[in-house]
Point group: C2
DNA sequence: TTTAACTGGTTAAACGATTAAGCATATAGT
DNA sequence: ACTATATGCTTAATCGTTTAACCAGTTAAA
């Protein structure tokens, strides 16, 4: 009986010892403290360059830390400090040059300040976007930079972010819809520029395949298109203004629709390069001459616009600048003690990049 | 004097109270425990569906958690459990369909198991890649899934991951170089397939613009090319085998180089769609007929290969499958108590997608 | 009857860092 | 000589969860 208990006790001690020996624990500040015979507090302060620690001690701590190959446990400090140094980024997808470039620039700016980004894609799905928000909040990100999915109309999920007191910065998609910071280009003006350009090329009947009206940027492009037509006394024909999901596939569909009209347009401005690509495929397949029979303008200046035949005129959205500004905006918040967000827009002027698909002058 | 001390004391008490009142603390399991008058341990177990807690208590806990809008603090549990439920992903860049698709599939599989991914891009730079590894380790990721940058030759940084006992899974780039799991396609066979296809089309002088030889996948493609030529008794001309960085720009350059040869090739197989695109631009600019005068085959099956004129024959790398397998491989490790990695290859068979740029039969 | 096993919890330590508060000692100011 | 301030640390609490160890009560088995 007694022997049994003793045996049990010994076994337990032993297994504990074995655990300690076996598992190569990562070095912690405690290890450093033990070596130098100082407190963990002193080590922590030394590593954080606190003024209350002597230069001598700091040097010693740094040296020992190096020798023991000390790596700070980010989770512990994050828990204690109440911030994770992670920033969540939500984009509809990464495989477009625009979003990829925005992300890259966000990363560049934030990395320098010790932040890392957790990236998620919504695939233009509202449900996925909500999931993304949940997982980011769960990961305890210190802020979220997002561009909304096409599908997103209901904004309660974004309100959830705001209610948590986490800074939220939107770019490209989402302007005005929530009372938060926004960075984007001037879509209204861009549309005007495009129509103006097409008019100059001699186009008289300009169609627009636009995005969903509930998305403000697409609505702005539509408004710009309409106002520009008015300005130039061009016919504002209902059948020339088409709403689209703006995928390649839908671009093909909507272009086919335009071609079936009794009086075809002589130019079409499409609110996305991807849809424009689909439209271009249809035009090429049907041997319609671009730009002579039909001028074509896209939006976004995706790299492929300059690769296809004919190259597609498009609008440069300044993805680099957008990414940088979004990151900087977030960093602004980290410096404020209390986060109080309000609508704070940064609107960049876009740039029209004229290529073969609308350059009638050059062809003739 | 005494009054001063009392005042100081009161001030301190007050400021503490103010803090407690003012800052809307997030609800913790402690709050739930207080409401139900049970221990935090019981709450924790209830939320984690521990068998030692009665269904009744569980229900009550869940209800209160919902009412108080409880969100678990991931940092705290991560710290305690010693795992972050984050997986790091390193890719050369996200704005290629291949990598973007791999990531998407990794995410899909891992999300289901409660993992989130932290994504980083190396931009094909060795230095950036090392930084990425450091930040991922710092973030305490539970594993890393990576595809190496073109520049990367020195692998000590990757050894760092292994030495930390964190599972490392490589895909596409990195096969064999470290003693870890790898998922990719059969590059050697793919090259053979391509050459075989070109031979069938009647090509007699096939050039290859390949990647850097130190990257195993590109070396495999080169070996496959060489062996296939031998097999078909075709001339293995040194000037027809060119090493390239495989960017669009370099594709243009290397194609120009090929065109300046005394006896031009009648087909060129390029180890990347991007470089193939550059090559295609040059051929189009110089009015060289594709595929009649020069057949063209790329690699990767990027979406644009089917969009350009003529469309480019390419190789489908099964990005979805690669992403899924990589994620599953990681999940395997999470189930093992001790992580002991060894070379464990999953090699998928690639698929040749024949398009106009090499379809001579169709043209003639 | 004794032992074992199950149920449904509780207690308290732990994860690894940060930080408010305290405490000597030294230096300077008046 | 007395107070104030600076220096350079230490102590101990804290962040929010998880979990090993324990305990009381009930049931089942030998």
């Amino acid at each position: 009986m007694i022997i049994k208990f003793i045996a049990l006790y010994l076994f337990k001690r032993l297994s504990k010892d074995i655990k300690k020996l076996n598992i190569k624990r990562k070095t912690t500040i405690k290890d450093i403290a033990n070596v130098l015979n100082i407190s963990t507090a002193a080590v922590s302060k030394a590593l954080n360059d606190d003024s209350r620690i002597s230069e001598k001690t700091k040097q010693a701590v740094r040296q020992v830390a190096k020798n023991l190959n000390y790596q700070p446990n980010h989770l512990a400090s994050a828990l204690r400090k109440g911030k994770s140094n992670l920033v969540g980024v939500i984009v509809p997808r990464t495989n477009s040059h625009f979003f990829s470039s925005v992300i890259q620039n966000i990363e560049e700016v934030l990395n320098k300040e010790g932040y890392n980004i957790v990236m998620t894609q919504s695939n233009e799905s509202y449900k996925k976007e909500c999931d993304n928000i949940d997982t980011l909040l769960f990961t305890q990100v210190d802020g979220i930079i997002a561009s909304m999915a096409n599908e997103t109309i209901d904004l309660t999920y974004y309100e959830k972010i705001k209610s948590k007191g986490i800074p939220l910065i939107l770019f490209d998609r989402g302007e005005n819809d929530l009372n938060v910071d926004y960075i984007g280009i001037n879509d209204y003006d861009s549309s005007q520029m495009i129509v103006e350009h097409l008019v100059k090329q001699g186009c008289k009947r300009i169609a627009h395949i636009g995005g969903y009206r509930h998305t403000r940027i697409f609505n702005n492009r539509i408004r710009g298109y309409i106002d520009a037509l008015k300005k130039h006394n061009l016919p504002l024909d209902n059948e020339l203004l088409i709403e689209s999901s703006l995928t390649i596939e839908d671009g093909r569909k909507k272009m086919t629709q335009l071609l079936s009209l009794e009086t075809r347009p002589d130019a079409v401005y499409i609110a996305s390069d991807y849809a424009a690509l689909g439209a271009l495929q249809i035009l090429n397949e049907q041997n319609i001459k671009i730009p002579q029979d039909m001028a074509l303008v896209g939006f976004g200046n995706e790299p492929f616009t300059s690769m296809v035949t004919p190259s597609i005129t498009s609008v440069n959205q300044h993805s680099e600048e957008i990414g940088k500004q979004a990151a900087l905006k977030f960093l602004d918040y980290t410096k404020e003690p209390v986060i109080k967000q309000s609508l704070n827009k940064i609107i960049l002027e876009a740039e029209l990049v004229v290529r073969d698909s609308s350059n009638i002058e050059k062809v003739e």
